[in-house]
């Protein structure tokens, strides 16, 4: 039973309908991390999709950045309650990367340099809802924000948008990633406030 602290309000929450429940608006771009910022030289960077049967599709940095890119403006919602609206990104759509991948899998486990993982349904990476993003706000994505490239899946909480992304495993069964193993939600819809397992 907690005691309310008189006069403490936390961050002000803005009620203009663009914020999911429990979020507050920020102009900053907070940096949260589970470990040191990885340093990935571009000549060794690769993005690899591995299917449930072990087939691999890989792109080097040069190959990835030669693909058609999209510029998108999206809202970001972090499970730690901050939201940042109208952020500009450029990247390659997962639809393009998954186009020639044959799979019966329903789930994806995303891997990052540095060891971070996160899971989500494969269909949430499709239909124009996810990118491998390498430019933010018109400039190359900074390392502290996940550069050289991160996953961007803005319709889910931002912990699903894995920084320093290096690839996906396509799986027949869902497998919890780094934070999902420790109580965070397997799906993570900010509009249904799915922060923790069981929400």
């Amino acid at each position: 039973m907690s005691v309310f602290t008189r006069g403490f309000h936390g961050r002000r929450r803005d009620d203009d309908g663009r914020l999911p429940p429990g979020q507050y608006l920020t102009d900053d771009f907070p940096v949260l991390s589970a470990g040191p910022t990885p340093e990935v030289p571009l000549d060794r960077w690769a993005f690899t999709i591995r299917t449930e049967s072990g087939d691999e599709h890989a792109w080097s940095w040069a190959e990835l950045t030669a693909l058609p890119t999209e510029s998108v403006t999206v809202d970001l919602h972090c499970v730690t309650r901050w939201s940042k609206l109208d952020t500009d990104w450029r990247g390659v759509s997962l639809d393009a990367l998954l186009e020639d991948v044959e799979t019966a899998a329903d789930f994806a486990l995303v891997h990052s340099y540095g060891g971070y993982t996160t899971n989500l349904p494969l269909e949430d990476l499709l239909d124009g809802r996810a990118w491998v993003a390498f430019e933010y706000d018109g400039e190359g994505l900074a390392a502290e924000h996940g550069g050289p490239a991160r996953l961007l899946v803005p319709h889910l909480y931002l912990w699903k948008s894995a920084k320093w992304v290096r690839g996906l495993d396509l799986l027949l069964q869902d497998e919890p990633g780094f934070w999902e193993q420790l109580g965070y939600h397997d799906y993570g819809d900010p509009w249904r406030e799915q922060r923790y397992q069981g929400d």
């Binding site: 907690s2 602290t5 008189r6 006069g7 403490f8």
Partner: protein
Amino acid sequence: MLLERRTESPSARTLVLQVDEWAGHLPGQHVDVRLTAEDGYQTARSYSLAAPPDGDRLEITVQRADGGEVSPFLADDLEVGDRVELRGPLGGWFVWRPEDPGPVLLVAGGSGVVPLMAMIRARAGVSRAPFRLIYSVRTPEDRLYAAELRRRAAEDGGLDVSYVYTREAPADSPRPPGRIRADDLVTHGWPPDFEPTCFVCGPTPLVEAVAGLLVGWGHDPGRIRTERFGGS
């Protein structure tokens, strides 16, 4: 419950809190302060205890961070008579026990001086262990406890205090402003063969740099205790 608030510097306040049934604590320990908003939102921050045990009274020194969620509230808005939830005492490694007779080197960066001040205050009248404090701050007005440290260096016996200014030094300072370096430690610290226990506290980059310098000088890493406050 907040009993009293004291100004320590333009950006820092000491809060004197009264706690029901406090069993005591060791200098160096901290408390976690948890704040709960009316809608149930909670957040917590750790604060080092600034003074040794004094019955049911605790002191913490809060440095106000611009745009911070908690520190401006504690430093400015919490009123005398208000209550906050706190948990502690916490921490059993970054502590100094007054029964230890050996020399002690204290290196502080900014608000990292708070737990070290608890050690200095606990030592007074109780221990003759030789203490040296090297306190790194940006400018002279950022110093916490300046007047008290001057008094204690004169009166407590066996306490030396020296300052390293990183941005702006007093006009008569022989040392130009700049980050703490090996020769600052050599000039104002204890050499390795004195086998001091070293307590280093402050922003993470300073703590790591100083710990590295002490080990490089020859101090036993097992005698170096660190506490990183995060940030830069």
